[in-house]
Structures are given as structure tokens and as C-alpha cells.
């Protein structure tokens, strides 16, 4: 709860700074504010509490994931200075909306009531509609926001309908009460409840970008300004998957039968389609979009196979995925700025001109592909272990096959950077940015080598 309040205050503060025309203060204040909110979040560790009649429940799971979200936001904001360096217009609105979106995301990780979930989702989504279109002059940005908005509001209708049906059958929005209702049903759920449940799943799946509700993702990711794409790909995805995970863990306590198969099948399709479609993408940004779709599929494994271990698995996965993705977007920002596009050919020969950046992108790609001993491997390993513990052998085999396919596209930037000849133009990168990139790379390696720092947490 303190996190939500702190972030809200931070958002308002940012807007005020804008009014006071202190543009140069924005980022320092934001970064500081994020650190403070992170600290505030962490102070609640091991002290589970609920607020406002269990509208908000703060427990270790929510704290851990909130921290991941804020940390991801921190990493993204650290890229912002470079991304917006040529922009003269005030940026307080964009930053403020991002902070509010982050607030919504945090709400989604700590809701105890479906009303809160809805509010979190909408806070996040409405902010994102704005952010996606924040590059008003670019037609692609316009298209992205239109698509995102139309599909998003359309699907949130279904989400709402689902909530209404659940409410109708269980008589409450409260997760605790719903879980009591579920227990009372003892396996025989009325169709209305089931319909509500599945509509809820569908609504959340849309946000996570799960097949067949993933269609918006590649187009919107591509059209959205890169910095905000990074935000969507990490913060939004993490928040949504956690929301879904939380709903099931709190409501069903391990009763799988009803929704297991559906999510199972969706996971399979997401992994396969995401990876297969990624193979042929000619540009890095769109490739990352498909990569993020396929990772949604992997994350679903944690939902399917939920067990005491899967908390940790999901935490590690979201963390490693977020860092690696943001790191990749960090390079992408540089490329786009220097070359005006993000085709793989723009990366040609980067290993010679910018060895550090090439190395960072390589590590991030390898991590996403799940190659040991990087964080991505550890995360996948945990997830697979969780799923196998529950006996989802075939699901894991599909996931593994997906990983194999994914190597095909994760290696394309590496091949371009190391094996193709460059045009010799060096990207100029300031030291802080380099340090930041290197920091993320180091994180990827360290999380891979010392995963127990993350894993024992929840």
C-alpha cells in the first residue's frame, strides 16, 4: 500500500515539476523516487498486511514482484535521458503517465479484490494508450495507439463481464470470499462461474499477450516509441502475469482441473507461435515483440504448474527476462537513433565498432535464449523444474523445442554484429549509458551465477 501511495505521490510530483518548468530535475527526482519507493516496498518484507478491507494485500509475493516492477521501471528510466536527448518538448507528462502506469502495475500485483484488479488494469492500460501514442507525429505511433486502444478496451469489456459473472455466482469481489465459494463448490462449478473465470483469463491473457490474444503485441510494440515498448514488454507483462498467477493461487489453492488444460494449450500455442513467427522477422524490435510473446508462454508454465516453487520460478523468470529485454532495448535505442531503423543489418559489424555494446546485446540475447550460465537459463531451468515436478513432461518438451527454435532468431543479431562487415560508423555512447548497459549485463551474469540470491526469497 505504501508503494502505491509513494508512486502516486511521485507521479503527481513529476507533473508539478513540469508545471514548475524544472525539466532537468525530472529524471533525478524520478530515479530517486523509484529508489525510495523500492525501499518502502521492501520494508514491508515478512510482514503480510491487508489494507482497506482486503482490497490490497501486501505479502512477500507482492513485495517481491512490486520490487521487480519498480526495478524494471528504474532501468527503463535510466535509458530515458538518452532516448529523449533530442526532444525539446516537456516530458513531464510522459514520465508522469509512466509512473501512473507503474502504480497500476503495482496494484495488479497486490490486489485482494477484483475491483482493485480492474482498477489496476485500467490505470495501467489507459496510461499505456496515452504512452503508445505519445509520439504524435509518427504515423506508426498513431496506429499503435489506435490498435492498442481498440483491442484493449474491447477485451477489458470481456474482463469486466467475467468479473461480473464471478460476482454473480460467488456473491463477492473479494478473493478470499471467492476462494471460500470455490471450496464450497467442491469441484462442481456452475457454468456461470466458469464462464466468468474464463472471461477473466481471457482478459488477462490479452494483457500478457498470449495466443490467440496476442495480435496487438507485435504491431503495438513496433509502433510505440522504443522506450515505452521496453516498458510494455517488461513492466506490463510482469504485472499481468503476476495478476493472473495471483488470482489462481489465491482463489484455487491448487485445484487445477478446470482451467489447467486451457492454459496448458494456450501456453503451447504461445510458445510455438511466438518462436516460429520470430524466426523470420527482419528487424530487431519486432523480433523482440515475438520474443516477448514466446516468453509469455514460458511464464504461463508457472501458472499451470503452480506449486510452492513456482513463486520463485516466476520471480526469477520475470526478473531475468526484464533485465535482458531492457538491455536489448537499450541497444535498440542506440541503433534506431544512429541508423533510423532497426533492421538486423543495422547491427552489422558492431562488434568491431562498439565491442562493449555488442557484448551487452550478445549476453542479453543468449540469456533470452536460455543459454547457461546466464540468468535466462536459470529462470528457464526453474520453470521447467516446476512444471516437471507436476508432471507436465510434454509441456516442457514443447517449451524446450520452442527454446531451440528461438535460438534461430536470437542469434541473428549476434551473427550480424560479429560476422558481418560494418560500414565503419561507430555509435557514440556516453559513459553513463555504457555503465548502465554494462550493469544490466553484469546483472544477467550474476543472477545466472548466483540465482539463490533471488530464489530463496518468496
Amino acid at each position: 500500500m505504501t508503494t502505491i501511495i509513494a508512486l502516486t505521490i511521485l507521479g503527481i510530483l513529476v507533473l508539478f515539476l513540469g508545471i514548475m518548468k524544472k525539466q532537468s530535475w525530472l529524471l533525478p527526482v524520478i530515479l530517486l523516487g523509484l529508489v525510495v519507493s523500492m525501499a518502502l516496498t521492501v520494508t514491508g518484507w515478512n510482514m503480510p498486511k491487508s489494507y482497506a478491507h482486503e482490497m490490497v494485500i501486501v505479502d512477500n509475493v507482492s513485495i517481491a514482484f512490486s520490487t521487480v516492477l519498480i526495478f524494471s521501471a528504474f532501468l527503463i528510466f535510466s535509458l530515458a535521458a538518452r532516448y529523449y536527448r533530442g526532444v525539446t518538448r516537456p516530458l513531464d507528462d510522459i514520465y508522469g503517465v509512466m509512473i501512473f502506469a507503474l502504480t497500476g502495475a503495482v496494484m495488479m500485483t497486490s490486489y485482494g479484490n477484483l475491483i482493485m484488479l480492474f482498477l489496476g488494469i485500467e490505470t495501467l492500460s489507459i496510461a499505456l494508450y496515452v504512452l503508445a501514442g505519445s509520439h504524435k507525429e509518427a504515423i506508426t505511433s498513431n496506429e499503435a495507439t489506435l490498435k492498442y486502444f481498440l483491442l484493449g478496451s474491447f477485451l477489458s469489456g470481456f474482463l469486466l463481464f467475467g468479473i461480473a459473472l464471478i460476482y454473480g455466482s460467488s456473491g463477492s469481489f473479494d478473493l478470499h470470499r471467492i476462494s471460500e465459494y470455490v471450496a464450497a463448490c467442491s469441484g462442481n462449478y456452475p457454468p456461470m462461474f466458469l464462464a466468468g473465470l474464463f472471461l477473466l483469463i481471457i482478459g488477462l491473457s490479452f494483457k500478457i499477450a498470449i495466443v490467440p490474444f496476442h495480435f496487438w503485441a507485435p504491431d503495438v510494440y513496433e509502433g510505440t516509441p522504443t522506450l515505452l515498448t521496453a516498458f510494455m514488454a517488461t513492466v506490463v507483462k510482469t504485472a499481468s502475469i503476476v495478476a493472473m498467477y495471483r488470482f489462481f493461487t489465491h482463489t484455487f489453492h491448487g485445484i487445477h482441473g478446470v482451467w489447467e488444460t486451457t492454459i496448458w494449450v494456450m501456453a503451447v500455442f504461445t510458445i510455438l507461435l511466438g518462436n516460429l513467427t520470430g524466426v523470420y522477422q527482419p528487424n530487431l524490435k519486432r523480433m523482440l515483440a515475438y520474443s516477448s510473446i514466446s516468453h509469455s508462454g514460458y511464464m504461463l508454465l508457472a501458472v499451470v504448474a503452480f506449486s510452492p516453487m513456482s513463486d520463485n520460478a516466476l520471480l526469477l523468470y520475470t526478473l531475468s527476462y526484464s533485465i535482458a529485454t531492457i538491455s536489448a532495448f537499450g541497444i535498440l535505442i542506440l541503433i534506431r537513433e544512429a541508423r533510423g531503423n532497426d533492421y538486423f543489418s543495422s547491427l552489422n559489424g558492431m562488434a568491431k565498432t562498439n565491442p562493449l555494446e555488442a557484448f551487452c546485446l550478445t549476453v542479453s540475447m543468449l540469456s533470452l535464449a536460455g543459454i547457461p550460465p546466464l540468468a535466462g537459463f536459470m529462470a528457464k531451468y526453474y520453470l521447467f523444474t516446476t512444471a516437471l515436478e507436476k508432471g507436465f513432461v510434454w509441456l516442457v518438451i514443447v517449451a524446450v523445442a520452442g527454446s531451440a527454435i528461438s535460438v534461430a532468431y536470437y542469434f541473428r543479431p549476434i551473427i550480424a554484429m560479429y560476422l558481418k562487415e560494418s560500414d565503419g560508423v561507430q555509435l557514440t555512447v556516453e559513459t553513463p549509458y555504457k555503465v548502465h548497459l554494462f550493469f544490466m549485463t553484469l546483472m544477467i551474469i550474476l543472477v545466472g551465477l548466483l540465482p539463490f540470491l533471488v530464489i530463496g526469497l518468496v
Binding site: 481498440l150 490474444f213 516460429l276
Partner: protein
């Protein structure tokens, strides 16, 4: 004290190492001393060992270390000294030394002089290992090692592609045999739990005759012998092997290496007598080879090729001897053959040397006067090989023939036929080379000279040996002592115990057989004299048209062409086929196909992403309906 046995192979090895490692730095003079001296030293030590045989045989193994040792598999690096190995030792080092000595003259001008002696020493080393080994694996070391040296020496003049091909062919054909040897060894180990001669033979004694394991073992080992000793069907490498320098042919491809197969079977005599089926196979192979090779030799015009086919034929005789249980006879023939065939080769080398490399007997003739020492020694060799008494060949061949007669009368007839052919082609060779007028070029005639003493001395010594070698084993019928038989008897005692004791032939029969053979040989010699000395010999060029049988024989029954057609070419084609079709078009295409399929699928499914919002909504609704329908209504 027994360790001096070690010196026997050690000297040539040292010689090889010195010449091999410092091959250019060693001056020629020293190379000569080292190259020949080491073999001489070995010979001397061998003599010491031979004359103190009882002492050595009783106390060995005084030295052994475990070469390979895993649980029950123990392969010590152990040597065995017994009469059989001593005989071989003396041949290898003795004849080997003479040939080394001869090479000093023969190879004098060659730039690869040091290399030549290094290889030769290495060969002697491996041959001695082969002979001395106290178990099959150590024998196999020598067995393969001599193959290597044979390869190196056949291809000694490695600029010539033909020679290299010949060397490669020899090595590969030997390897085919070696595989048989190897598998035979494995089967021995499988059957007896050991590979050392002592244990294997001791256990074999108690096995019933004709047991499948022993038949299989002996057949597999015989495959090895076929390769090494150039029997049908693996003989074609030997004529080609004449590409090497002539001393090599004398040492490796006449006196020692090619007889390794005979030695190995004689060594394993107990196994063979227990496998009558194998013996039959050996007999048929040997006899067929003897006749086949002899018939080819009649029509060859290359002096060394004639001798090569003659060697194959004589080896066939040895195998025939082995197959009828005449182990001593075979060993005796091996010994005398070593003398006279080495002599003949060296003689041929002397001729070639004199004529500046000419090998075609159609371009020779009348060398008798110009090369007297060569002529006389060659003559002795020819008489010896033709089996004319009292030279050595007569006794050894006669012993084999006698046993063959005891064994089977039809086989004897074939064997005698072969012997007659031998007489014919050898005298044809002699007459064409040394009689009538010289048919070569002016330059050759001018250049022609008798070889230096360093070459003729070995010729003379070998001629003496070839002449009197028979005394080693003069049969009882001539009031001889059969000394070699007595000497080797302990080795073959077990085998002799197994074979049924036949009543010795009456002396009258023996005389009769000898008479028939000798008459035939005499006839052959006269016929050859008639054809090639009295009349002007008819010598057709290679391209001339011949009637069917002479053509077939000149062309060596087209066996090389046949092998080329049924093995080499198909293998090449198979190789190309496997690579171009199976590998690239099939296996790799499947692999790439999987990859391409993924890419293709990726490229196809991405078009679902039409960019059209309405379409997206439609698909999503379909998805929603599907999920609800499947989960709730069903």
C-alpha cells in the same frame, strides 16, 4: 644373461633411430657402418643364442613387461626362443645382413641412402619382433610393422606415382589380412582366455579336433597369412611391390616378410592340425596359388616380375606343405627359398644395375660373358629353385612333394606340374638373360659392367648357401640325418602327436617319385633350352596379338583389372554416391529440411499478423468462443 636376446631386435632399432633421427647429419660412411653393422651384430647374437639354445629356451622369459594389462587380459612384451624362432632369426639376420651388404653397393648413388638403411633396419627390427614374439599381439606388432616397412620401401622412390600406388596397394592388401589376424587373435582370446603361445597351445592340445572355434581361429589367422604371404586372392600386391629397390624385393618380398604367414602357421601348428577343414582350405589355396602364379610367370617379361610370381608360387608350395602337416618341410623350403630367392633377386638386381635400370628380359641376353659372377650365382640359384639335385631346392621341394603324395595322389600331380612349370620359367629367364646375344641398346652395352665386390660377395655367399643348404635336412633316404627335422621336432611334437602316424612310404616309391619329377624337370630345362638358346627366341612386344591362353597369361588372368572392376571402382563409386547422394541429398537434406521447415513455417504464420484490427478482433472472438464452448458446454 638371457637379456642378450633383447639385443637382437635392439641393434636394428638403434640403427633405425640413429639413421632416422639424424638422417641427414649422419655421413654416408657411418650410415653404411650403422646400417649393416647393426644387422651383423644381431646375426652374431642370434648365432650365440642358436648355439646355446637349450640354455635360452629353458630360462626365458627372463624379461617381460606388461604391455597391455587389464584384468584377465595380460599381454606381456615377451619373447620366445625355441628352435623355430631361432631358425627364423638366423634367416632374418643372416640373409638380412647379406642383403644389407649388397645394398651398400646397389644404393650407392641414391640420394636417399641413409633413409634406405633406416627403413631396412626398421624392417629387420619388426621382422625380429614378429619372429621372437611369445604371444600373438607381439607377433602382430611385427606383423603390421613389416607391412609398414614394406610400404615405405616399395614406395622408396616416392616421386613415382606408380610406385606409390604399388606401396599403398601392398599395405592395404596386407591390412585386409591383418584384420583377419586381429579377429583370429580375438577369437583365440575368447576361446582360451589368453593370447600367449604357451597357454593357448597347452589348452588347445586337449581340445577335440575340428571344433568350430579352432576352425574359425585357424581360418581367420590364415586370412592374415594369405595377405602377408601373397596367396590367392590377395597376391596381386606382390608383383607390384617390385617397384621397390631390388634389395628390398630380395629381403622383404622373397626371403623374410612374405614367409611370415608360413612361420605363423608353423608356429600355430597345433591349432592347425586340430582343424582339418582349415588344412584343406590351405592346401587348395596353396596349390592353386602355386600353379596359378607359376603359369603367369611363364609369360612375364620383367625380370623381377618373373621372380615375384615365382615367389608367390613357391610360397604356395610352402602352404601346401603346411596343409599336409609337413611343417618341417615347409620350414625347410622356407629356409632354402630364402637362400636361393634372395640370391636370384640380388642377381637380378646386379643385372639391372649393370644395365642402368633395364628390367625387361626382352632387352637383355648374352650377359653371361659380361657378368660372370652374376651369371654363375644366378645359375646356381636357378638350378636350386628348379629342384635339381644336389642343390638345396631339390631336398626341400622333394620333402613337400613326398608328404603331399602321402596325403593325396591327385594333389601330388598338380604339385609336380607346378614344379615343372617352375623349372621352365626359371630356365627361360636364365637363358633369355644370359644366353645368346645382347638385345639392348648401344649405350647399355657400353655401360654394362660387373657389379662391385660389395655386391658380388653376398651373391657368392648366398650361392654357396643355396647350393649346400640342402645339408640341413638331408632325408633318411640319402642317409642324411634330417637334422632340421630333429631340431624342430620339439616345436611340432604336439602336432605330430595329433596327426595319425602314417606308415612311411617304402623307399622304392620315394625313388620312383623323385625319378618322375626329375625327369620332368630335365625335360622342361631341355625344352626351354631348345626354345630360347638353340633357336632364336620369339619375343613379342606387349602390344602384339596373342592367342587366347598366352594372352590370358601375359595379362595375368586380368586379375588386377578384375579387382579394379569389382572392388576399386565400385568402392570409388560408392564413396561418391554416399557423399553426393546419401549424405548431401538425403541425410543432410533431412537435417536442413527440419530447419527450413521451421523457417518456412515462421514465414508462413507471420502472415496471420495482417495488421488489420478488425481481423484481430475477429480471431480473438473466435478464440473466446472456442474457449468458452470447449470448457463450459462440453
Amino acid at each position: 644373461m638371457t637379456l642378450i636376446v633383447l639385443l637382437i631386435p635392439l641393434f636394428p632399432l638403434l640403427g633405425f633411430l640413429v639413421l632416422g633421427l639424424g638422417f641427414r647429419a649422419v655421413p654416408k660412411k657411418w650410415a653404411t657402418v650403422i646400417g649393416t653393422g647393426t644387422v651383423l651384430l644381431s646375426f652374431i647374437v642370434s648365432m650365440v643364442v642358436a648355439f646355446n639354445l637349450r640354455y635360452f629356451a629353458a630360462t626365458l622369459p627372463g624379461f617381460s613387461f606388461d604391455w597391455i594389462s587389464i584384468g584377465p587380459l595380460k599381454i606381456p612384451f615377451a619373447f620366445l626362443i625355441d628352435p623355430l624362432s631361432v631358425v627364423m632369426l638366423l634367416i632374418v639376420t643372416g640373409v638380412g645382413f647379406l642383403i644389407h651388404l649388397y645394398s651398400v653397393g646397389y644404393m650407392k648413388e641414391d640420394p636417399g641412402y641413409n633413409r634406405f638403411f633406416a627403413y631396412m633396419n626398421l624392417f629387420v627390427f619388426f621382422m625380429l619382433l614378429l619372429v621372437l614374439g611369445a604371444n600373438y599381439p607381439v607377433m602382430f606388432i611385427g606383423w603390421e610393422g613389416v607391412g609398414l616397412c614394406s610400404y615405405l620401401l616399395i614406395g622408396f622412390w616416392f616421386k613415382n606415382r606408380e610406385y606409390n600406388n604399388a606401396a599403398k596397394k601392398a599395405f592395404i592388401m596386407n591390412r585386409i589380412g591383418d584384420l583377419g589376424f586381429l579377429l583370429g587373435m580375438f577369437l583365440i582370446f575368447n576361446t582360451f582366455g589368453s593370447m600367449s603361445f604357451g597357454q593357448v597351445f597347452a589348452q588347445a592340445k586337449s581340445m577335440p579336433a575340428g571344433s568350430p572355434a579352432i576352425v574359425a581361429i585357424t581360418l581367420l589367422l590364415f586370412v592374415g597369412a594369405v595377405g602377408k604371404s601373397a596367396q590367392i586372392p590377395l597376391y596381386t600386391w606382390l608383383p607390384d611391390a617390385m617397384a621397390g629397390p631390388t634389395p628390398v624385393s630380395a629381403l622383404i618380398h622373397a626371403a623374410t616378410m612374405v614367409t611370415a604367414g608360413v612361420y605363423m602357421i608353423a608356429r600355430s601348428n597345433i591349432l592347425y592340425v586340430l582343424a582339418p577343414a582349415t588344412m584343406t582350405v590351405i592346401g587348395i589355396t596353396g596349390l592353386a596359388t602355386a600353379l596359378f602364379a607359376a603359369s603367369i610367370a611363364i609369360f612375364q617379361n620383367d625380370i623381377k616380375k618373373v621372380l615375384a610370381y615365382s615367389t608367390i608360387s613357391q610360397l604356395g608350395y610352402m602352404f601346401v606343405g603346411l596343409s599336409v602337416g609337413a611343417f618341417t618341410g615347409a620350414m625347410f623350403h622356407l629356409t632354402t627359398h630364402a637362400f636361393f630367392k634372395a640370391l636370384l633377386f640380388l642377381g637380378a638386381g646386379s643385372v639391372i644395375h649393370a644395365l642402368g635400370g633395364e628390367q625387361d628380359i626382352r632387352n637383355m641376353g648374352g650377359l653371361r660373358s659380361r657378368l660372370p659372377k652374376t651369371y654363375w650365382t644366378f645359375l646356381i640359384g636357378t638350378i636350386a629353385i628348379a629342384g635339381i639335385p644336389p642343390l638345396s631346392g631339390f631336398f626341400s621341394k622333394d620333402e613337400i612333394l613326398l608328404h603331399v603324395f602321402e596325403y593325396s595322389w591327385p594333389m601330388w600331380k598338380f604339385a609336380v606340374a607346378g614344379s615343372l612349370m617352375t623349372a621352365f620359367y626359371m630356365f627361360r629367364l636364365l637363358f633369355l638373360v644370359f644366353f645368346r646375344d645382347f638385345r639392348g641398346t648401344e649405350a647399355q652395352q657400353h655401360h654394362m659392367h660387373e657389379s662391385p665386390p660389395v655386391m658380388t660377395t653376398p651373391l657368392i655367399i648366398l650361392a654357396i648357401l643355396a647350393a649346400v643348404g640342402g645339408v640341413l635336412n638331408i632325408p633318411e633316404i640319402f642317409d642324411g640325418g634330417s637334422r632340421l627335422s630333429a631340431f624342430l621336432a620339439p616345436v611340432f611334437a604336439d602336432a605330430a602327436a595329433v596327426t595319425a602316424h602314417q606308415v612311411p612310404l617304402p623307399h622304392s616309391t620315394e625313388w620312383l617319385l623323385m625319378g618322375i619329377t626329375l625327369a620332368g624337370v630335365a625335360g622342361m630345362v631341355l625344352w626351354a633350352f631348345n626354345r630360347y638358346v638353340r633357336k632364336q627366341p620369339v619375343l613379342l612386344p606387349d602390344s602384339a596379338r596373342r592367342s587366347f591362353i598366352p594372352n590370358l597369361l601375359t595379362k595375368k588372368y586380368y586379375i588386377d583389372e578384375l579387382y579394379d572392376f569389382i572392388i576399386v571402382k565400385p568402392l570409388d563409386r560408392l564413396s561418391t554416391f554416399l557423399h553426393d547422394v546419401v549424405e548431401i541429398r538425403f541425410i543432410d537434406r533431412i537435417v536442413n529440411g527440419v530447419g527450413n521447415m521451421v523457417v518456412w513455417t515462421g514465414n508462413t504464420v507471420r502472415f496471420i499478423q495482417t495488421g488489420n484490427v478488425g481481423f484481430y478482433m475477429f480471431i480473438m472472438i473466435l478464440g473466446i468462443i472456442l474457449i468458452l464452448f470447449l470448457n463450459i458446454l462440453i
